[in-house]
Structures are given as structure tokens and as C-alpha cells.
């Protein structure tokens, strides 16, 4: 898929193909399942992914279907060797997953809440991301990790993080951020089949979203963005859940005669510089929307790339709409104010275009 052809939000080749309206979480689970069937070296690891065990029979109970029901039914189908339940030891089991990836398996790790990345951070940065390089290319780390990010569910400071920019900062690690059922299918499959370590960040707010998903097997090339909407007046850059906020903002802008183009980055590392430049070359105005906190973030990175490589196309300052530089508050009103809302994007665009 080359971005310049992508006029359909799903990407080229997806006009009129057979498919269904599906829920994000079901697509996620079905994709895991399909990849496990496809390749028997693929296995899952994480806390509570077997949902408890019967005291007498020692059989897994699948009481919860795993965190956020992401693995529902899989332990019955694949058994506890391939759905490996882990004690609460993120550093230890992420390290073990890396070790298994270095020796021939393709582990997929469920880290539950994105915030828990910090506990396994050394294993991710010092081992997963560096092994190939520091050992001179003699090995590979076909590891996939996923976790749920984002505010909006009353989980407060330690269960609502979106600091994917810190992961994207790390050379050797790839980072993808699906924003709908279509993209999670293609990105999760691509991540699992990729021979480099890939982290899939899954905003909680997406989990019950529905959307059209082609029946066929497909992957989305890591490192590519897509257009969710074509427009001429301003480029809105979204990632993960903010792609949805951007679409809503574009709808509102259309009502007042502003024709916004919406890009969904889908991958944060590597990411699609070309689509950013291509779009800004056309619209000459850009607003980047990110739920991560602002400093040294992906919003900063996209702004920096545009300010370098699309500078001559710019008619106005490069704007970012992000979370504030603060932890996530508990109170619902504060939490809503914390997240970039479509209205914040609209306000920023109007100011940028002098349309007030």
C-alpha cells in the first residue's frame, strides 16, 4: 500500500471487497487466533490470560477471557502451553519472551495496561530493542507486545498512560497504533509476522468500536499512514484514538466551510514522513493531535519533520493539540478536559486559519 493511492480509508484495493461490520475487540481476538493457527511458533503470554485455574482439575477457566477479553476462548482452543499465564512479573516474563524470541519462537505478550511497560522497561529497551544491533545482526527478536492505553475510563494516573512516544524514541523497537477494527487486524497480523520487536498500543476507548473489516487475510505495512479523509484547507494528523477525534473535528469544520484532510498515522516507529509532507504540501496548514503529553512526543516529532521537510509549503505555524504536561486526573470532568477533544481541534484550526 503506497499512501499516495490511498483514497479509501481502508487503503487501496478495499473498495467493494467482502467484509463485515465488526467490533474492535472481536477483530483483535480473531486476529490473534488466526495468527496462532497460521504459525505454531506463535504463542501468547500475560497475566490472567487463562482466567484462573480449577483447583482440582488444574484446567484453565477463562473466567475473564483475559484482560479486556482480548483472549476469550483461546485457552480452551490452544491450551495453557500456547496461552501461557504469567505471575505478576513484567520484567521477568517480558525477558523470558525475548529469550524465547531469540531461540526460535514468536511470542506475543499482553501487558494489560500500557502503564505497566515501565516495570519491564529495561528488558524492552536494553534487550529487545538492542539485541540485533549490538550483536552485529546475528539475531532477530520476533516479539510482539500489546497493552491498553489512554484516559477516559476513570482509571486515574497509573492506569491511563499514552506515553507511546517514549517507545517510539527507542531505536530497534517498532510501534503501531491502530485506530479502528480495520487497522487493528492488519497491524496486529503484520506485527506478529514481523521479525523485529513491535509494540501495539491499543487505546481503551477503541475497544468497543465497530467498523468495516474485509474478510480476507491482509497486513498493513508497518511504517505507513493513511488518509481517513481528503481535504484542501488544513491537515489534521491523528494517531490511535485521536484519529477519531480528528474525523469528528473534520465533520464540524466542514459545517463551517473548512475542508480538512485527516491522516491516521497508524505506525509511530517507523512512521510515514511522506504522507505528512504530501498532505502539508497541499493544505499548507497542519494541526497534530495527540493524547500523549506534549514534551518530546510524537506530536513534537511530526511537527519537527514538517518544520524541516515541508517548511516551504507551510502558510502558518505548526500546531499541536495534546494532553497537558500532567498525569491523568481521576475526576471525570478533569479527565475529559485532559483528552484532546474534537472541539479543541476545531478551535485551534479556526484560530490558525484566522476563521474566528
Amino acid at each position: 500500500m503506497t499512501t499516495s493511492q490511498a483514497n479509501n480509508p481502508l487503503g487501496p484495493g478495499y473498495d467493494g471487497v467482502p467484509g463485515k461490520e465488526l467490533r474492535f475487540r472481536d477483530v483483535f481476538r480473531d486476529t490473534l487466533r488466526a495468527e496462532m493457527i497460521r504459525d505454531e511458533d506463535v504463542f501468547l503470554m500475560g497475566e490472567d490470560i487463562s482466567g484462573g485455574f480449577d483447583k482440582d482439575t488444574k484446567e484453565p477457566l477463562d473466567a475473564w477471557g483475559g484482560p479486556f477479553a482480548a483472549t476469550k476462548g483461546l485457552v480452551q482452543e490452544f491450551g495453557p502451553e500456547r496461552i501461557r499465564d504469567a505471575p505478576i512479573s513484567e520484567a521477568g516474563f517480558v525477558g523470558a519472551a525475548i529469550g524465547s524470541a531469540l531461540t526460535g519462537l514468536r511470542p506475543v505478550v499482553d501487558l494489560m495496561y500500557f502503564d505497566f511497560v515501565t516495570v519491564a522497561f529495561d528488558q524492552l529497551l536494553s534487550n529487545a530493542a538492542k539485541s540485533r544491533y549490538m550483536f552485529g545482526g546475528q539475531t532477530r527478536v520476533p516479539l510482539t507486545l500489546f497493552a491498553r492505553s489512554g484516559a477516559g475510563t476513570g482509571h486515574a494516573a497509573q492506569h491511563s498512560e499514552s506515553f507511546y512516544s517514549m517507545l517510539a524514541h527507542i531505536p530497534g523497537l517498532k510501534v503501531v497504533v491502530p485506530s479502528d477494527p480495520y487497522s487493528v487486524k492488519g497491524l496486529l497480523a503484520a506485527a506478529i509476522r514481523d521479525d523485529d520487536p513491535v509494540f501495539l498500543v491499543n487505546d481503551k476507548k477503541l475497544i468497543n468500536l465497530t467498523g468495516f473489516v474485509p474478510d480476507e487475510d491482509y497486513v498493513i505495512e508497518l511504517g505507513k499512514g493513511r488518509y481517513l479523509r481528503r481535504g484542501t484547507d488544513v491537515t489534521l494528523v491523528g494517531m490511535s484514538y485521536t484519529s477519531i477525534a480528528c474525523q469528528k473535528a473534520a465533520d464540524q469544520l466542514a459545517e463551517i466551510g473548512i475542508d480538512a484532510e485527516v491522516i491516521d498515522m497508524m505506525s509511530l516507529s517507523p512512521f510515514d514522513e511522506d504522507i505528512l509532507i504530501e498532505s502539508v504540501a497541499k493544505t499548507h496548514n497542519v494541526v497534530i493531535v495527540d493524547e500523549d503529553t506534549p514534551r518530546a512526543s510524537m506530536a513534537s516529532e511530526f511537527a519537527a519533520v514538517i518544520a524541516d521537510k515541508a517548511f516551504d509549503h507551510l502558510d502558518a505555524p505548526v500546531k499541536r493539540v495534546t494532553a497537558p504536561h500532567s498525569p491523568v486526573p481521576y475526576n471525570r470532568d478533569l479527565e475529559i478536559a485532559y483528552m484532546p477533544q474534537p472541539e479543541d481541534v476545531v478551535r485551534t484550526v479556526r484560530k490558525l486559519l484566522g476563521h474566528e
Binding site: W64, A157, V321, S326
Partner: protein
């Protein structure tokens, strides 16, 4: 029994307060008055009560996602706790922390903590302060954590540090048999978690965590050791949570009815009542008066929470730093 009347009253009040707080909190949660996820600790009243019975406001405790019991036993105000869970400005943390982050530094409560295991070294640090200041005799650190948390490396680091530095710390492991749906028999490679203590040069004691008197005795010894400068102790308190992992969890999906019944039969509050009435230490009337007072307190707590205002919109940007006057308001 070697426990003063006042202490007995305090213990009963505390256990009943925890029980009723959790039940009231769940009611409010199901009514939609909580703004987030809550983890009830009813059934687990004995460990915080039996341990905190030995503590003053100068002692410090660290807590977990399942922290209401620890808060109450350490003397936090139930109205401010309820208001916090309701996300109100009058809440213990101004509505910014919620159930998983209730703290009260004026009471020696270092905060509930939603990263499993992460609060353990904080209690070690509090004990370090005590030792540094030469006040171990009046300030110890108690770290509450679960069987699930025992698999976190930071526990082991903390135990080693406390032992190497000979700090006044109690490692209080509330083993309720489960971490979410995962049974301890699956995730813990020791039959008794306390058996690990010896490898860290400290006593490890297994305690019936449904019996507040047993907890009181074991904790008394451990805390006396700590206050005397003899270093850390590990207590494993075998206990049970009556409800699911969090408010909306149905534990029957992964626990057997017989097992639940076994612990219900050992109910810490009933056991306390039976013991003190049998030994004629407290009368049924006295017990009732305490219960009535707690019931009223809960009504008051809910009313206080419901009638309290929301935090100011500016609270979003406050207290990221102390000495930094220029908040970055989302670059919008």
C-alpha cells in the same frame, strides 16, 4: 486477653467500619456515583486492623489498589475517602486520585498505589527516614501488598535492602489466594510466601489473617522488633476477599462455593464478636452501639460526598510541580 478495652473497641470499630465502608462504596459505585474502578477489601479486615492497632500517626504504611482497609485502619476520614471515590474537591486527594490513590500524609499513609508492588520500597524509604533521624522507636514502615505482588522483583529488592540496612520495616503480605482470577497456588512457587523471608535474613511468620487477635499478636512482635532496632519482619496473612477483584467482577467464575463458605465461616468480625462476648470483654450492647455509630458515619460519608463540589477546572494543571509556575496546558 492482653488487649485494653479501648483497643478492643477501636479494633471492632475499625473492622466494622472497613466492612461497611466497602459495602457502602459498592452500593454507590453501582448507583454510578463512583467515577472509576474500585477494589473492595471486605473479608480482609483483620490484617490492617491487627497491624495498625500498634501504630501511631508517626508510623508509615504503604498500600495497594485494594487500599480502603489500610486507609481506615490508619485513621483516614471516611467522608474524605468517599468524596475522593466520588471525584469531589473535598476528597482526600481533591478528586484527582480516586480509589486507587487515596493517601493522607498527615496520618502516616503513603498512598494506595495502582502499580502492583510499586509501593513496597516506599515503606522501606519511610523506615530509612526513621533510622536516619534516630526515631525508629516511634516510626516504623509497614508495607501492605498481596500474594500477586509477591512475584514482583521489587519486593525482593526491598526485602534485601531492609535487611542489609537493618530498617524498621514490616512486610505485610495479605495472601487472599488470588491475584485477579489467578490463584496463588498457580503463580507462587512457595507453599508459604513467608518461607522466603529466611533467605533475606529476617523472620517470616504465617498468620491466620481472618483472626484479628492472631494478627495483633504477630504484628506486635514484629513491630516491637522494628522499634527496638532489630530490623525487618515478614508477615504472611492468609485472608480472603469476599467480593470479586473489582466492583464488577464475579468471583464465582473462578472460585469454588466451598472455598468461599470456608472463609465466610471464619469471618473476622463474627470471630471477634464471638470471642469478646464469650470472654465477656465487650457486651452485645456495646457492640451494637459501635455498629450503629458506624452506620451513621456511612450515611454521613455518602451525604458529604454527594453534596460536595467538583474540583475547579484549574485543578487539571495544578500540582504537577511545586516550584514551577508555568503549566503546559496541552499546547492547544
Amino acid at each position: 486477653m492482653d488487649i485494653s478495652k479501648e483497643k478492643l473497641e477501636w479494633m471492632y470499630t475499625t473492622m466494622y467500619r472497613i466492612r461497611r465502608f466497602e459495602e457502602t462504596m459498592l452500593e454507590q459505585t453501582f448507583k454510578g456515583n463512583s467515577m472509576g474502578v474500585t477494589h473492595p477489601s471486605d473479608g480482609q479486615e483483620a490484617p490492617p486492623t491487627g497491624i495498625c492497632a500498634h501504630l501511631t500517626e508517626k508510623d508509615w504504611i504503604g498500600s495497594t489498589h485494594r487500599g480502603h482497609g489500610h486507609c481506615i485502619a490508619k485513621g483516614l476520614d471516611t467522608s474524605a475517602m468517599m468524596a475522593e471515590i466520588m471525584g469531589k474537591a473535598t476528597g482526600q486527594c481533591g478528586g484527582k486520585g480516586g480509589s486507587m490513590h487515596i493517601a493522607d500524609f498527615s496520618k502516616g499513609m503513603l498512598g494506595a498505589n495502582a502499580i502492583v508492588g510499586a509501593s513496597i520500597p516506599l515503606a522501606v524509604g519511610a523506615a530509612l527516614t526513621a533510622k536516619y533521624k534516630g526515631i525508629e522507636n516511634e516510626s516504623v514502615g509497614v508495607s501492605f501488598f498481596g500474594d500477586g505482588a509477591s512475584s514482583q522483583g521489587v519486593l525482593h529488592e526491598s526485602m534485601n535492602l531492609a535487611s542489609v540496612w537493618k530498617l524498621p520495616v514490616i512486610f505485610a503480605c495479605e495472601n487472599n489466594g488470588y491475584a485477579e482470577a489467578t490463584p496463588a497456588w498457580y503463580a507462587v512457587s512457595a507453599s508459604d510466601i513467608a518461607s522466603r523471608a529466611e533467605g533475606y535474613g529476617m523472620p517470616g511468620v504465617v498468620v491466620d489473617g481472618m483472626d484479628v487477635f492472631a494478627v495483633y499478636d504477630a504484628a506486635g512482635e514484629a513491630i516491637a522488633r522494628a522499634r527496638a532496632g532489630e530490623g525487618p519482619t515478614f508477615l504472611e496473612l492468609k485472608t480472603y476477599r469476599y467480593h470479586g477483584h473489582f466492583h464488577a467482577d464475579d468471583p464465582k467464575k473462578y472460585r469454588k462455593p466451598e472455598e468461599e463458605q470456608f472463609y465466610l465461616d471464619k469471618d473476622p468480625i463474627k470471630h471477634f464478636e464471638a470471642t469478646v462476648t464469650k470472654q465477656k470483654l465487650m457486651s452485645a450492647k456495646q457492640l451494637k452501639a459501635i455498629r450503629d455509630a458506624v452506620e451513621q458515619e456511612m450515611l454521613d460519608a455518602v451525604e458529604f460526598g454527594m453534596n460536595s463540589p467538583m474540583p475547579d477546572a484549574s485543578a487539571l494543571y495544578d500540582d504537577v510541580y511545586i516550584n514551577y509556575s508555568n503549566p503546559i496546558q496541552g499546547l492547544r
